[in-house]
C-alpha cells in the first residue's frame, strides 16, 4: 500500500468523468425530467378545465331542458284554449245555421198552406155552386150568380 502516481491517475480519471457527466449526461436527463414535470402539470390543468367545462355544460343542458318544458307547457295550454275557442265558434255557427234552416222551412210551409188555401178556395166556390145548383135545380143562372158565389168563396 504505497502512495504513488495512481493518486494522480485517479484524480485525472475523476476529473474526466465529472466533466463528461456535466456536459453530456446531466443536462439532457434533467431537461427531460423538467419537461415531463411541465407536461404532467399541463395535463392536470387540462383535466381540471375539462371538468369545469363539463359541469358548465351540464348546468346549461339542465337549464335548456327546463326552458323547453316550460315552452311546451305554454304551447299545449295555448292549443287547448284555441281548441275550445274553435268548438265554441262551431257551436255558434251550427245554431245560426239551424235557425236559418228552420226559418226557410217555416216560410215554405206557409207558402204551401197558402197555395192549398187558394186551391181549396177555388174548389169551395165550385162545390158551393154545384150544391146550390142541386138545391135550386136549374133555377140559377150561372152567369148571374157567379159573382155572388165568388164573393162567398172569398169569405171562406
Amino acid at each position: 500500500m504505497n502512495i504513488n502516481l495512481t493518486i494522480i491517475g485517479q484524480a485525472i480519471a475523476f476529473f474526466i468523468f465529472v466533466v463528461f457527466c456535466m456536459k453530456f449526461v446531466w443536462p439532457p436527463i434533467t431537461a427531460a425530467l423538467a419537461e415531463r414535470k411541465k407536461k404532467i402539470a399541463e395535463g392536470l390543468d387540462a383535466a381540471d378545465r375539462a371538468e369545469r367545462d363539463l359541469q358548465l355544460a351540464q348546468e346549461k343542458a339542465t337549464e335548456n331542458m327546463r326552458k323547453g318544458k316550460e315552452e311546451a307547457a305554454a304551447i299545449i295550454e295555448q292549443a287547448n284554449k284555441r281548441a275550445n275557442q274553435i268548438i265554441e265558434e262551431a257551436k255558434e255557427k251550427a245554431v245560426e245555421e239551424a235557425g236559418r234552416v228552420k226559418a226557410a222551412a217555416t216560410a215554405e210551409l206557409e207558402q204551401e198552406v197558402n197555395q192549398a188555401r187558394e186551391a181549396l178556395r177555388g174548389q169551395v166556390a165550385t162545390l158551393a155552386l154545384a150544391g146550390a145548383e142541386k138545391i135550386l135545380e136549374a133555377s140559377i143562372d150561372e152567369k148571374a150568380h157567379a159573382q155572388l158565389v165568388e164573393k162567398l168563396a172569398a169569405e171562406l
Partner: protein
Amino acid sequence: MASGTQTSSEYISHHLTNLTFGSHPVNGMSFAHNAQEAAEMGFWAINVDTLGWSIALGVLFTWLFRKVAKTATSGVPGSTQNFVETIIEFVDENVKGIFHHKNDLIAPLSLTIFVWIFLMNTMDLIPVDWIPFVAGQIGASFGADPHHVYMKVVPTTDVNATAGMALSVFALIIFYSIKQKGLGGFLAELSFQPLGKWMLPFNLFLELVGLLAKPISLALRLFGNMYAGEMIFILIALLPFWAQWVLSVPWAIFHILVITLQAFIFMVLTIVYMAMAYDHH
C-alpha cells in the same frame, strides 16, 4: 482457498497487494513481483489494477448514463431511463437540500461520485478469488509466476483511489472558497475565527487542521471501510470451501448496505463541503 504452496499470511498479503507497474531501481520498468519491490518503486509507479478497474467502471457508468441521456424522452420512460432517472432525482434532491447556490458542477459531480464509488465498492461482492485467479492464469500464460501476479479488484480498497478523489474534492473546495470569498476573504476566514484576530496563530492552526481533515477523512473513511470489508471476505475465504457460505453470505448481504452507504456518505460530505466553501461564516 489457501493452496498447499501458500501459507495463510501469504494468501492474505497476495490479496492485499496491488499490481504495481513502475521503474524499479534494479529491474527497470516492470511489474513489481512483491510488495517490497512495489515500495521500492516509490512514487513514480502506478497501480494498474486500481486504475484499470476504476476507469473501466467509470466508463461503464458514463456509457450507461450517456446512452440514456441521448434518448431521454419527456414522455413515458423506458425501464433503463426510469432507473437512471431515479438515481438522478435522488442525487438532485440531496444536492438541492444541502447546497443552495447556483452551480452547474455540484450536481453532476455528486452523481459521478455516488455512482462511480458505488460501482467500485460493488466489486467487493464478487467472490474474492475469481478475478485474481483469472488474472493469475493470464499472467501465467505470459510466463509470469501466478503468485506474483497481483490483482486487487476493488479500487476503493486502494488508498490511492480514495485519496485521488478526496484531493480532487479538496481542490474544488479551495477553488470555490477563493472564488466566492476572494483570496483575502478565504485567508481571513482561516485566521480570524473562532477567537478573533489576537489569537491568529491559534485560529490558523485550528482552521487549517479542520480544512485538511476534510480530504483526509473523506479518503480514509471510504478506504478504511472498504479495506476492512475486503479483509473480512479474505479471512472468510480461508475457511474450508464448504463452510464459507455460512459467513460470506451474511457478510455480503450486510456489505450491500455498506457499499451504498459509503458511496452516499462520500457524496453528501462532498456537497456539504462545497456548500461550506460557498457560505460565509
